[in-house]
C-alpha cells in the first residue's frame, strides 16, 4: 500500500497507473463494453469508416446522440468502393441495448451491452471496420485480452527459474557458480529470432493459435531467464556476506532454506522493477511476432495481428482507423515503462539520478 501511495505522488506514474488500471478493467469487461462480439462480421461493410455520431440534428437543435448507417457502392469506372451515409433513417444510441448474447464474466448469460443503437439494424462502428467487415473497436478490446496478458505468462516462467538459478549459483559460489553461469551464458547465446522461425515451421499444427502463441512465449521465456539469473546471482553474492546469513548458517539452517527464505526476499525490489519493465517487452514481442505471422492468427484478434492489416500502403493512407491498435500498444508500453521507472525510484532510492546529497 505504501508503494501505491507513493505512486500517486508522482504525476506521470499516477497517470500511467490509472491508464493501465482502466485498460485492464476494460479488457476484463470486453464482452460487455464492446458493441459486437469478436467474430461478428458484416460482409457488406468491409473497410467501412468510423460511424459519425451526431448530437445536433439537421435543424440545429440538440438531440439524443444518433448515427446513420453506411451504404456501400461500387463505381466500376474507377474500380472504387465508396461509403455513403443513408440519411433516410436515424439510429439513436442508448445505454444497455440488447445485442448478441454472451456470458458476462463468463458466468451470467445476457444480451445487454454497455451501449449501442436502440433499434435493431443500426450500425455503430466507433473505429470503423476491417477487411472482413468486423468492428475494429470491439476487436481492440478482445485483442487486448491477449496482448495485455502475454507478458505475465512469461513472468511465470522467467522469474521462478531466474531467482532460484541465480540464488543457488551466487550462494554456493566457486566451481558451482562458474559452471552454472557458463551454462546461462550458453543459453543467452541462442539466437531467439532464428529459433522462432524454426519453431514456426515445426510446431504441431493441431494447436489453436492461442495455444501456439502461449507455447512460443514460454519457449522465449525459457531462453530469456538467463539474463535475469545473472543479475540475481550478483546480488546474492553481496547479500550472502551479510551478518544475518552467517547467523543463519551457525544455527544450522539448510542451504535451500537460507536461499529461499532469507536471501531471495532481499532482491524483491529489483524483481518487482524487472517484472514491470519486462511486461512491455512482451507486448511488443507479441505485435512483432503477429506481424511476422508467427503470433496470434486470424480470426483471433490481438493488437499485433490487427496492426498487420495497416501495413498495406492504401490502408495507411485511406483507412487510418486501422492504425489504432498501434496507438494502444504505444500507450500500454509507455505506461508500463513509466510505472516501472517510478517503482524503481520508490523501492531503490540509491539508484535515483539527480537529487542525492553527496
Amino acid at each position: 500500500m505504501e508503494i501505491i501511495k507513493k505512486i500517486f505522488q508522482d504525476k506521470f506514474a499516477k497517470a500511467a497507473f490509472i491508464i493501465l488500471l482502466v485498460l485492464y478493467v476494460i479488457i476484463l469487461f470486453a464482452d460487455f463494453i464492446a458493441p459486437y462480439s469478436n467474430t461478428y462480421s458484416n460482409r457488406d461493410m468491409s473497410y467501412a469508416p468510423p460511424s459519425k455520431i451526431y448530437t445536433i440534428d439537421e435543424n440545429g437543435n440538440y438531440s439524443r446522440p444518433y448515427t446513420y448507417n453506411y451504404i456501400r457502392e461500387y463505381e466500376p469506372a474507377l474500380m472504387q468502393t465508396v461509403f455513403k451515409q443513408d440519411r433516410s433513417h436515424k439510429y439513436y444510441l442508448r445505454l444497455l441495448p440488447k445485442g448478441e448474447g454472451y456470458k458476462f464474466l463468463g458466468l451470467i448469460p445476457t444480451h445487454r451491452h454497455l451501449f449501442g443503437t436502440a433499434e435493431k439494424g443500426g450500425q455503430l462502428y466507433l473505429l470503423g471496420t476491417d477487411i472482413n467487415g468486423r468492428d475494429v473497436f470491439s476487436r481492440l478490446l478482445f485483442g487486448g485480452r491477449i496482448s495485455m496478458t502475454v507478458g505475465f505468462l512469461s513472468l511465470l516462467v522467467v522469474f521462478p527459474i531466474g531467482l532460484l538459478y541465480g540464488g543457488i549459483s551466487g550462494y554456493f559460489g566457486g566451481i558451482v557458480d562458474t559452471l552454472m553461469m557458463r551454462f546461462a551464458e550458453a543459453i543467452m547465446a541462442i539466437p531467439s529470432f532464428y529459433l522462432l522461425i524454426i519453431l514456426a515451421a515445426i510446431l504441431p499444427s493441431g494447436m489453436t493459435s492461442v495455444q501456439r502463441f502461449a507455447l512460443i512465449v514460454v519457449i522465449l521465456a525459457l531462453i530469456g531467464w538467463a539474463g535475469f539469473a545473472r543479475v540475481v546471482r550478483g546480488m546474492v553474492l553481496s547479500i550472502k556476506k551479510e551478518d544475518f546469513v552467517q547467523a543463519e548458517k551457525t544455527i544450522g539452517a539448510s542451504n535451500l532454506r537460507i536461499i529461499l527464505k532469507h536471501i531471495l526476499p532481499q532482491t524483491t525490489s529489483y524483481v518487482i522493477i524487472a517484472m514491470t519493465l519486462s511486461v512491455p517487452s512482451y507486448i511488443l514481442a507479441e505485435s512483432g511476432l503477429s506481424f511476422l505471422g508467427l503470433g496470434i492468427q486470424q480470426p483471433d484478434a490481438s493488437w499485433g495481428n490487427m496492426l498487420k492489416e495497416a501495413q498495406e500502403f492504401t490502408n495507411i493512407l485511406y483507412r487510418p482507423w486501422l492504425l489504432t491498435p498501434g496507438l494502444l500498444i504505444f500507450i500500454a508500453v509507455l505506461s508500463f515503462n513509466l510505472l516501472g521507472d517510478a517503482i524503481r525510484d520508490i523501492l531503490d532510492p540509491k539508484s535515483r539520478a539527480g537529487k542525492g546529497i553527496r
Binding site: 468491409s46 515451421a201 492468427q297
Partner: protein, 587 residues
C-alpha cells in the same frame, strides 16, 4: 497449317479497354546482305533511354536459361536467350523467332534457321547450336527437366536430325499437340555451354550462377547482362548483334538499358513507383482505385489486361491412403465426408464469392468456377457458375445424410462435422478469405479450425505428409496450353494435390472421374487442332466443376500502370503489357 488455337480469338480477348489500341502487323522476315532479319512492324522510335521494372523477391537465382525454376530467373534468362519459336502475343499462335520458318508434315517438324545471325560474341548461330541444346541438355534432362517431361510420349523422346547447317528436323513418335509449343525452349551457344555440360549435370546446373562476370556471358536475346548487384538490381544492355530490325532497317532494341529493381514486397514496389524510381507497376486490390483516381493528372497510363492466368481455390483432401505406419493420412470419418460429392457441393454453394471479390479483392476480380483460368482459350464457356445459396447447401447436406441439430451439424453416425482449413500465414488476402470461408461453413453448422501456417510447412503438408483436410491455395496457369495442367489433373501427377499417390504407387484405385480425366489428358495431347481438343478440355472442366475436389474462388484482374513516356506499348490479355521490350522506346 495446323493450329492449336482458334482462327479468331473469342471476344473476351478483345478487352474493352484495349479495343482502341492500334496494333502493328505481325513481324516479317527481311533479308538484307544475306542476313535474315526479323522486321518489327511497329512505328519507328528513338534509340536510347532506359526502362526500370521491379521484381519482388530475392532476384534471379541463375542466368542459365535451361535451369530456371522460378519466375524471376526465367523471365530474365528469357530476355537473354530466344527460342526457335515463340507465341504470338495477340493470336496465341506459335510463330518463328530465332527460326526463320518451320513446316509441319505429319510428325515431322522442319525448322529453317536464319542465315547470318550471330551470338553476342560474334559467332554464327547454326544448326549445331540447336542440335546441342536439345540433344545434350533437354533430352538428357539437365537443368529444369520440365521440357523433357513435356516432350516425352509413352516414354519416348522425339528424334532430331541435322539436315544442313541451317535446317533441323524433329520427328515425334506419334502426333503430339503440345510439342510445337515446346520449341519455344531457349537455344544456347554450343561453344560456350559445352565445356560445362560435358562435366555432368551438377557442374552444368551451377553454370551461369548470378555471380558470373556479365562480360563473359554469350547470349542471343535482345538484351545482354551488364551488371548484377545482389538484392538490388539487375541491369541489361542492348545486344548489338540482335537480329530484329525496325521499319527503317535499324537494329533493335531501342532501349539502351533495361533495369530490374529488386524490391522486398508490394508496398516497397508502390513506394518506388511513387518516387519515380520504377516505371511499371502492377496494381491489385484497393490500390487500383487510388491510381485510377490520380491517373488523369499523372505521368502514367493504366491498362486493364483482363483476368489473371493463375487460379485461387479451396482444395479438399480426398486421400484415403495410409502412411508407412498404417495410419490414415486423413481421419476415416472425415474422409467419408470429403469423399461425398454432396458434401463438397454443399461447401461450394455456401461460399460467398461476390463478397470475396468485393471485400478482399476490392472489386478488382471476377468469381471463378472453372479449372482453366478465365483468360484461357480453352475455358469452358458453358460453365456459368452459380450464386451463393446456403439453402442449396443445406439440401445437399440433408441428401448426404447429415443432420443439423441446434445449429450443429452431425453426420449420420452422430459425429460432429469438424475439420481444419489451412492457408499460408502472412498473406493478408488468403487470411481474410479463410475468415470468410470459416464463417460461411460455420453457418451450415460445421466447425472449421482455420490455421494459417508458414508457406513451406503448408507445401510440405500438401505434397509430402498429406495430413490436411482443406486448404486455400493458388496455382499458376497457362492461357494457351491446358496440357500444362497434366501434373495437377492426371491421377499420378506430382501436384495431384487432392488425391496424391506416392510416385511408386502400383494399385489402381482411381475414382471413375479420375480415370476419365486421365483419358482426356492422354487423348488431348494426341489431337492436333484446337477444334478437336476443345471438347475434351471442356469435358475435364465439367468433371471438375461437378465433382468439386477443388472449389475455385476468384480470379484477380490484372491492372498495370506504365509511364506515358514509353511508346510502342501494345498490351494484350495473353501476353501482358511489356512483352515487346525490343520495340518499346522512350519518347
Amino acid at each position: 497449317m495446323r493450329a492449336d488455337v482458334p482462327e479468331k480469338l473469342p471476344d473476351k480477348f478483345v478487352n474493352q479497354e484495349l479495343k482502341n489500341i492500334d496494333y502493328p502487323d505481325d513481324e516479317k522476315n527481311v533479308t538484307i546482305n544475306g542476313v535474315d532479319y526479323l522486321q518489327s512492324q511497329a512505328p519507328v522510335g528513338k534509340f536510347g533511354g532506359e526502362l526500370v521494372i521491379s521484381t519482388i523477391g530475392e532476384g534471379p537465382k541463375t542466368f542459365n536459361p535451361c535451369n530456371t525454376k522460378d519466375a524471376t530467373s526465367s523471365s530474365m534468362a528469357g530476355l537473354m536467350y530466344d527460342g526457335l519459336l515463340t507465341t504470338n502475343p495477340r493470336s496465341g499462335k506459335v510463330v518463328p523467332l530465332l527460326a526463320k520458318s518451320f513446316e509441319i508434315d505429319e510428325n515431322d517438324y522442319t525448322i529453317h534457321l536464319r542465315h547470318g545471325v550471330k551470338w553476342s560474341d560474334g559467332k554464327p548461330i547454326t544448326a549445331d547450336d540447336v542440335m546441342y541444346t536439345f540433344e545434350e541438355i533437354v533430352f538428357k534432362g539437365f537443368g529444369n527437366p520440365s521440357t523433357m517431361d513435356a516432350m516425352m510420349m509413352d516414354g519416348k523422346l522425339p528424334e532430331l536430325v541435322k539436315i544442313d547447317d541451317y535446317t533441323v528436323k524433329f520427328t515425334t513418335p506419334r502426333p503430339f499437340a503440345p510439342f510445337l509449343r515446346q520449341l519455344t525452349y531457349p537455344i544456347v551457344p554450343k561453344h560456350y555451354f559445352k565445356p560445362y555440360s560435358d562435366k555432368g549435370e551438377s557442374v552444368f546446373n551451377a553454370f551461369l550462377s548470378p555471380d558470373t562476370p556479365p562480360k563473359t556471358i554469350v547470349s542471343n536475346g535482345a538484351f545482354r547482362l551488364k551488371e548484377y548487384v545482389a538484392a538490388q538490381r539487375v541491369v541489361f544492355e542492348r545486344n548489338p548483334n540482335y537480329y530484329k530490325i525496325n521499319l527503317k532497317g535499324e537494329k533493335l532494341p531501342y532501349l539502351n538499358k533495361l533495369v530490374y529493381m529488386i524490391v522486398g514486397d508490394t508496398n516497397n514496389e508502390i513506394l518506388k513507383f511513387e518516387a519515380k524510381e520504377v516505371d511499371v507497376l502492377s496494381l491489385r486490390g484497393s490500390n487500383v482505385a487510388r491510381y485510377k483516381l490520380k491517373e488523369p493528372d499523372s505521368d502514367y497510363t493504366i491498362y486493364n489486361l483482363g483476368p489473371d492466368t493463375g487460379t485461387l481455390f479451396l482444395i479438399i483432401n480426398l486421400n484415403n491412403r495410409k502412411d508407412r505406419n498404417g495410419k490414415p493420412y486423413v481421419n476415416p470419418t472425415k474422409h467419408s465426408w470429403f469423399a461425398n460429392r454432396d458434401f463438397r457441393a454443399a461447401i461450394d454453394w455456401a461460399l460467398d464469392r461476390k463478397n470475396m471479390v468485393q471485400n478482399i479483392a476490392s472489386g478488382v476480380a471476377e468469381p471463378l468456377f472453372t479449372a482453366e483460368s478465365l483468360n484461357s482459350i480453352y475455358l469452358n464457356n458453358y460453365i456459368k457458375g452459380h450464386p451463393c445459396d446456403p439453402n442449396v447447401s443445406r439440401e445437399s447436406l440433408t441428401k448426404a445424410g447429415f443432420v443439423n441439430k441446434d445449429g450443429i451439424l452431425y453426420d449420420n453416425d452422430g459425429n460432429r462435422v469438424e475439420f481444419d482449413l489451412y492457408t499460408n500465414a502472412g498473406n493478408l488476402e488468403r487470411e481474410a478469405l479463410g475468415v470468410m470461408i470459416k464463417q460461411d461453413l460455420e453457418d451450415l453448422g460445421m466447425k472449421v479450425n482455420f490455421k494459417p501456417v508458414e508457406f513451406n510447412s503448408l507445401v510440405n503438408k500438401l505434397t509430402n505428409t498429406h495430413d490436411w483436410d482443406m486448404a486455400i491455395m493458388g496455382l499458376t496457369g497457362s492461357p494457351l496450353e491446358p496440357h500444362d495442367g497434366k501434373n495437377v489433373w492426371t491421377s499420378k501427377g506430382s501436384l495431384h494435390l487432392f488425391n496424391m499417390r506416392p510416385s511408386d504407387y502400383k494399385v489402381d484405385d482411381r475414382l471413375d472421374w479420375e480415370k476419365e480425366i486421365d483419358d482426356i489428358f492422354r487423348e488431348g495431347a494426341l489431337k492436333l487442332s484446337f477444334e478437336e481438343r476443345k471438347p475434351l478440355y471442356d469435358r475435364y472442366q465439367t468433371i471438375i466443376y461437378n465433382q468439386k475436389p477443388i472449389i475455385y474462388l476468384y480470379s484477380p484482374t490484372r491492372i498495370t500502370a506504365i509511364r506515358k513516356k514509353f511508346k510502342n506499348i501494345f498490351p494484350t490479355p495473353l501476353s501482358g503489357l511489356i512483352y515487346n521490350l525490343d520495340e518499346i522506346y522512350v519518347e
